[in-house]
Structures are given as structure tokens and as C-alpha cells.
């Protein structure tokens, strides 16, 4: 099974391992390496191609710490399901997840917003829900006023991308 692993919070690497007895082939981002791992003292002896190194490994759930090459490396396994959670949420328009009423409008047109920032608060089915920006941008238009009712899927707030490099030029606060 191919796994995704990051080293010290860096870019994720696709890693696949095939065992052949005491030896194994590890594929990292499409390139194969012949490896072997065996016990050695309090740690383990790792051989990659022709290079051999004494390593110590500690695994805690989805994290692993490897001591090798004179320093410690933090490895993190990316859950294949969580990886895609929330994916596809980058639309320019924040839409209503259900029919309801607007009870607060937090932003105005021209305002710069960051991903996750509150745009409007709606109420439906006795619940208040915050509608947040799905990505960084500038508010183009707030479609509804406080007290207005709407159907599911109705546009609530439109966003346009931040103009590249102009964030200092005009402050972005129209």
C-alpha cells in the first residue's frame, strides 16, 4: 500500500514498500531503492543501496521519530481519508447549506478576508451557523441583508481573488 509521509512538516512523499524476505524495495516518489533493516545493539541497522546507517525509531500512532545521520527526523503519516477531507471547497461564492434567514452580516464589499474568516451568520432549524470564507479573497458582493430569507444553495457572499502583489499598495480595504 502506498503511504503519504511528510518529513519535518515538508512536502508529502508517496512511499511504497515491498518486502522480499530480509530485504525490501522502497519506492519514494516513483524511484526504487533496495533497502534492508536488521537489529543492531539498542537500535537497528538500516541499509539503503550501498550505504549503511545505525538508526533508532520511535513510533507513536501516526507519527514516527527516526534518529539517523546525526540528527532526529520527525515523520508524519498522512491519513488517506483525511487527506481529501474538505477538498473541493474553494468556490468563489459562499452558498447557503440549507434554507434559512440571515441574522448577521460580518463583512462588507471590498473587504479582504482570509480562509476560515466569518462572512455571515445564518439561522435555520433553530441553529445558528457561521458561513466562512473557503479561501482567501476580497468580498465582491454580499447578496442578502439581515432578516432576508433564502433557499438552499442561494449565493450569500461572492469573493474575488486577491490581486497579486497589491496587498500593500491599496491595503485591500475598499
Amino acid at each position: 500500500m502506498a503511504l503519504e509521509i511528510t518529513v519535518a512538516g515538508g512536502t508529502a512523499r508517496a512511499v511504497d514498500l515491498a518486502r522480499h524476505g530480509a530485504r525490501a524495495t522502497i519506492t519514494i516518489d516513483g524511484r526504487d531503492y533496495a533497502v534492508a533493516l536488521g537489529p543492531a545493539g539498542s537500535g537497528q541497522q538500516l541499509t539503503v543501496e550501498s550505504r549503511s546507517e545505525r538508526v533508532h525509531v520511535v513510533v507513536d500512532h501516526d507519527m514516527a521519530w527516526v534518529h539517523a545521520f546525526g540528527r532526529a527526523w520527525e515523520l508524519s503519516l498522512i491519513d488517506p481519508v483525511e487527506r481529501t477531507a474538505g477538498a473541493g471547497a474553494s468556490e468563489d461564492v459562499a452558498t447557503a447549506p440549507m434554507p434559512g434567514t440571515v441574522i448577521a452580516v460580518v463583512v462588507t464589499a471590498g473587504q479582504e478576508v482570509a480562509q476560515g474568516e466569518q462572512l455571515v451568520v445564518i439561522e435555520s432549524m433553530k441553529m445558528q451557523s457561521e458561513i466562512v470564507a473557503l479561501r482567501d479573497g476580497v468580498v465582491e458582493h454580499v447578496h442578502l441583508e439581515v432578516g432576508a430569507t433564502f433557499e438552499r444553495g442561494a449565493p450569500l457572499v461572492g469573493l474575488v481573488p486577491l490581486a497579486a502583489g497589491d496587498d500593500d499598495a491599496d491595503g485591500g480595504k475598499g
Binding site: 483525511e82 434554507p99 432549524m125 433553530k126 441553529m127 451557523s129
Partner: protein, 532 residues
């Protein structure tokens, strides 16, 4: 299983506001529990001492295994009833450990009103015995009550018969019962010690009879002392109604521990276990996650991450029906299938829950319901797609699963959503509520609108045209009534749950609960799991 990823920002202003709000609620709960358990007028305590009686708390200390958990149930019973004159309904009940065995303890509190029964006292005993029956917990009755509060006899009498019937059912189910008689057991109450397998009586204090000396004199003219009529020596050496006579309460409780120590130890239900580990995320952060208003939403996954072992959760169908969170985890090393709400239930969410419950039922995994539900989605689009049909499937499967169910009201629990999530009337083995939670047939605003409209229409029909102020007054009344009766303290007062729990105590509460429910075997009813 993977460690959950938390997205809580503990530095955010919202987090700090929520935290302050919920810490205040936790303090309020702590104070209310302390008052209900311990605060009694000095006069009442003096009176107990004069009678050479211990407080119910002191008795429990002598009975229960030191250092073992005691999960008190329905601790705030009657806190909003009877003008507060019957704290805890003058009865303490809970799941504790005696001589290494998990037991249900039911103990009168005679510090006030002679430990008289109120209607809620009666229902509290019935509920405790129901829990004992369903979870195969042996029962220790600690009896010290002046009997029914006769001013309220009709409502007491309506329920009391259940108690004795349940005692008979417990016996038939092979669940032992022991009575310790500290005071009078008169009339119907005489049957509680008599229906137990074994009964201990304290000399000069405990008595069992169908009618006490004054009533006997009135009925037949016979004059007889309490000890002669129903005392410990008479019953243990002449009538055989009781088994052991002792001189003091302390002796009675030591003997009770010996008696329980001889009871059979039964194997727990076969259920997946692993070594317990604390949650990775600090449960204390729950205070900053739960909103300060029942209408505000939060992410139930953040709650699960602070309740389950290692914050490890195997989520089922994470991308489908996202207002219902389903998945497997361990709590104190015991496996559970969790269903948690993120607000309203849509068809997809209901169907996901239904399939998940079938999976857990087939595999013998206990279910845990974490409520934050405002109901099933309403409106044309949803009715046309058959939301009621999907809700009905969820109810049908939930009602008929054979695995144990536990419920926690974490925030909102309203409408049929409460039913679908194994609310009180759907008989979860145990149900707890957080102090911030609210539960009602609908939201208070909608109810206030509806009722105000009804009253105004009625007034207009009588030819009266209410002014703006009068309408506001009506609305104020209706809202106040709703705010009172959907409040967690009111609901727990009327036994709609088995107790209010401080959110950070949820994990421990569920740990003791799971351990208790596994005393009863899990009888599986295998069936195919439908992908609906």
C-alpha cells in the same frame, strides 16, 4: 485507527468567551451537587446524631470499596420541585463497587422529612431498579424512610407498585439483592426488605411491619412496642422476615460487605478491549469548544477527540451525510460505536446512522449517542425526498438494536432528533446531560410564536383586541415557561436523564457506564446490514 486532527484555536476570542461561560456552568453544577448532597440544616444533622444514625453519605463511605469509583445517578433529582425541600428526592442511588463487585446502591436520606418518599423519589427508585435489571447489577437497598408523603400519595401510589414487581423480576433474573434496614419499613415499604435475598436489621432502629404501633392500636386496640411488633430480634429469630440482627449501623455495613463478598462473580460481556490510554487532546478544552448559546454550532469531532482513548477514531463514511458523525473508538479500553450530531439530520445523515447502527449491532459493539440535534430537516425539497421515511428507518433500527445504548445530551436535543438519537424514552441503558444542554419538542422561539398566536386569536374571537403591550406580556409568559421547562436543571429534576455531568467528567462517566452495562450479556441478533 488514526489520531484525530483538532482544529480548535485555543487563542481565539470565541474560545475564551465560551470557556468562561462553560467554566461558570461547571462551577454552578459543582455547587448545586455539593448543596444537594451535603448541605443540611444543623438541626437536621443534630436530630440524626440524637437517633444515633449516620448520614447517608457516611453510610456509603462505610459500604463502598475505598478508592473505587462511585457513579452517582440522578443526583439533582427534585432540585426544581417541591420548593427544594427534598434535595435529591431524599434518596441516593448510583453504581459503585462493594467487595470487588459492581452494584446498584439505593439509599434513603433521612436527614430531612424523615426520608419521606415524594413522587420523584418513587420514580427514582423505579429507574434505579430498571438500570439494575437491564445491566444485571446486584442491588443493595439501604432503607431508612418514614414512608410516603401522604399529601402526595396519589402520584406516589401510581408508581410505587413497580418497585416491588421489579424486585421480583430481579430475583427471577438471578440478580442478588440485599437490604439493610436502618429505620422503619412500614406498609408497602415492608415488602422491599422482605423481597430481598438477605436482610440485615439494626436493633432498636430498624423495623418492618405492615402497620406501626399507633395504627395497630387504632385498628384492633392491641398495644405493642415497636421492637415486639417488627424489631430486628423478633424478625430474625421468630418470624424469619429478616436474617441478621446487629447493634449498630457500622456493624450492619461491615456485614453487608461480607454478604456481598460471597456473591458470585460473573464474567462480563464479550466485547473488544484494549489497554486504556488518555485522550491525546486535553478534555479541559471542551469548555472552550461548547458554545455559549444552544443555537450556536460546534464540531462534534472535537468533542469525540477529547473523550476517546488516544483521540483515536475510525470514522465511518466521513464524506457522506456530514451532519452525522459515525465511527468506532475505545473509551477506557472498551470499544464503542459513536453517533454524534452536527446539527440537523438530513436523509443522508439518517441513512448513514441507520447502517452504522446495524453494523454495530451485528458485531456486538455498544452504541454511544452524542446529541447536538435540532431535529430532522423540514421543507418541500426534503419532504419530497422522503425525510420522514429515512427518519423512520433510523428510529426502527435504533429501537430494536440489541447492543447497549448510552446517550449524552451535549447541546441541543430537540424534536424527533432526540428520539432518533436514543433520547430518554428510547431506553438507552444510561443517559447523561451537560449543564448547557436544552431539550424540548421544538425551539423556544417557534413555540412562543405559535402559542402567542393561538392566545391572541382566542382573545380576538372573544371580541378583545390585545394591545402591543398585552401581546408582549403573553409572549413573555410563554417564553418564560419554555425557558424553564427545557432547561437542563429542570429536566434532571424530573429524571429525564440519569444525571448532569460536567463535560470534562464525561469520559470517566462513560467509562464506569460501559463497565456497568457489560455486566449483562450482549445477545446478538444477526441480520444482514443494509446499505441504504
Amino acid at each position: 485507527m488514526h489520531r484525530m486532527e483538532s482544529h480548535v484555536d485555543t487563542a481565539s476570542p470565541t474560545y475564551r468567551v465560551y470557556r468562561e461561560h462553560n467554566l461558570a456552568l461547571a462551577d454552578e453544577l459543582g455547587a448545586a451537587l455539593h448543596a444537594a448532597r451535603h448541605e443540611r440544616p444543623q438541626q437536621a444533622l443534630d436530630r440524626l446524631a440524637e437517633q444515633d444514625k449516620l448520614t447517608v453519605r457516611a453510610r456509603l463511605d462505610l459500604l463502598l470499596d475505598r478508592g473505587a469509583p462511585f457513579l452517582e445517578l440522578m443526583a439533582l433529582a427534585a432540585n426544581r420541585h417541591y420548593d427544594g425541600e427534598a434535595p435529591q428526592a431524599l434518596l441516593v442511588t448510583g453504581i459503585g463497587v462493594v467487595s470487588g463487585r459492581e452494584v446498584m446502591v439505593i439509599a434513603n436520606d433521612s436527614s430531612l422529612k424523615g426520608g419521606a418518599w415524594y413522587p420523584i423519589t418513587t420514580r427514582k427508585i423505579v429507574r434505579a431498579l430498571q438500570i439494575a435489571l437491564e445491566n444485571h447489577l446486584p442491588v443493595i437497598h439501604m432503607l431508612d424512610s418514614g414512608g410516603a408523603n401522604l399529601h402526595l400519595q396519589d402520584e406516589i401510589y401510581a408508581w410505587a407498585g413497580h418497585i416491588f414487581k421489579q424486585q421480583c423480576q430481579l430475583s427471577a433474573a438471578g440478580i442478588p439483592q440485599l437490604a439493610v434496614v436502618f429505620g422503619y419499613c412500614t406498609a408497602g415499604a415492608a415488602y422491599t426488605p422482605t423481597l430481598c435475598d438477605q436482610t440485615i436489621m439494626v436493633r432498636e432502629r430498624g423495623a418492618i411491619f405492615l402497620a406501626g404501633p399507633p395504627l395497630v392500636k387504632a385498628a384492633t386496640g392491641e398495644e405493642v412496642s415497636t421492637e415486639e411488633l417488627g424489631g430486628a430480634d423478633m424478625h430474625t429469630s421468630v418470624s424469619g422476615v429478616a436474617d441478621y440482627a446487629v447493634d449498630s449501623e457500622a456493624e450492619a455495613l461491615t456485614l453487608a460487605r461480607d454478604v456481598v463478598g460471597v456473591w458470585a462473580r460473573r464474567a462480563k460481556a464479550d466485547s473488544d478491549r484494549r489497554d486504556p490510554e488518555p485522550p491525546y487532546y486535553d478534555p479541559d478544552e471542551l469548555y472552550g469548544i461548547i458554545p455559549d448559546d444552544v443555537k450556536k454550532q460546534f464540531e462534534m469531532r472535537e468533542v469525540i477527540a477529547r473523550i476517546v482513548d488516544g483521540s483515536l477514531f475510525q470514522e465511518f463514511k466521513p464524506r457522506y451525510g456530514d451532519t452525522m458523525v459515525t465511527g468506532w473508538a475505545f473509551i477506557w479500553g472498551m470499544k464503542v460505536g459513536i453517533l454524534g450530531n452536527n446539527g440537523v439530520i438530513y436523509s443522508e445523515a439518517a441513512n448513514k446512522a441507520t447502517t452504522f447502527m446495524q453494523l454495530c449491532d451485528r458485531d456486538g459493539v455498544p452504541l454511544l449517542f452524542l446529541h447536538n440535534v435540532t431535529g430532522f430537516m423540514v421543507g418541500r425539497e426534503y419532504e419530497r425526498r422522503g425525510i420522514t421515511k429515512d427518519g423512520a428507518k433510523m428510529l426502527m433500527v435504533q429501537a430494536n438494536v440489541t447492543v447497549p445504548k448510552l446517550s449524552v445530551l451535549c447541546h441541543a436535543s430537540q424534536g424527533a432528533g432526540n428520539y432518533a438519537m436514543a433520547g430518554r424514552t428510547w431506553d438507552p441503558r444510561l443517559l447523561f446531560a451537560w449543564p448547557n444542554s436544552r431539550s424540548s419538542i421544538m425551539g423556544p422561539e417557534v413555540a412562543a410564536d405559535t402559542l402567542t398566536q393561538v392566545r391572541v386569536t382566542a382573545l380576538r374571537r372573544q371580541g378583545k383586541d390585545p394591545t402591543r403591550e398585552e401581546i408582549d406580556l403573553i409572549r413573555g409568559d410563554v417564553t418564560a415557561h419554555f425557558e424553564e421547562t427545557y432547561h437542563s436543571y429542570y429536566l434532571t429534576s424530573d429524571l429525564r436523564d440519569d444525571g448532569l455531568v460536567d463535560p470534562v467528567q464525561t469520559r470517566n462517566t462513560l467509562g464506569v457506564s460501559l463497565s456497568a452495562v457489560l455486566n449483562a450479556p450482549i445477545v446478538r441478533a444477526p441480520g444482514g446490514v443494509l446499505r441504504i
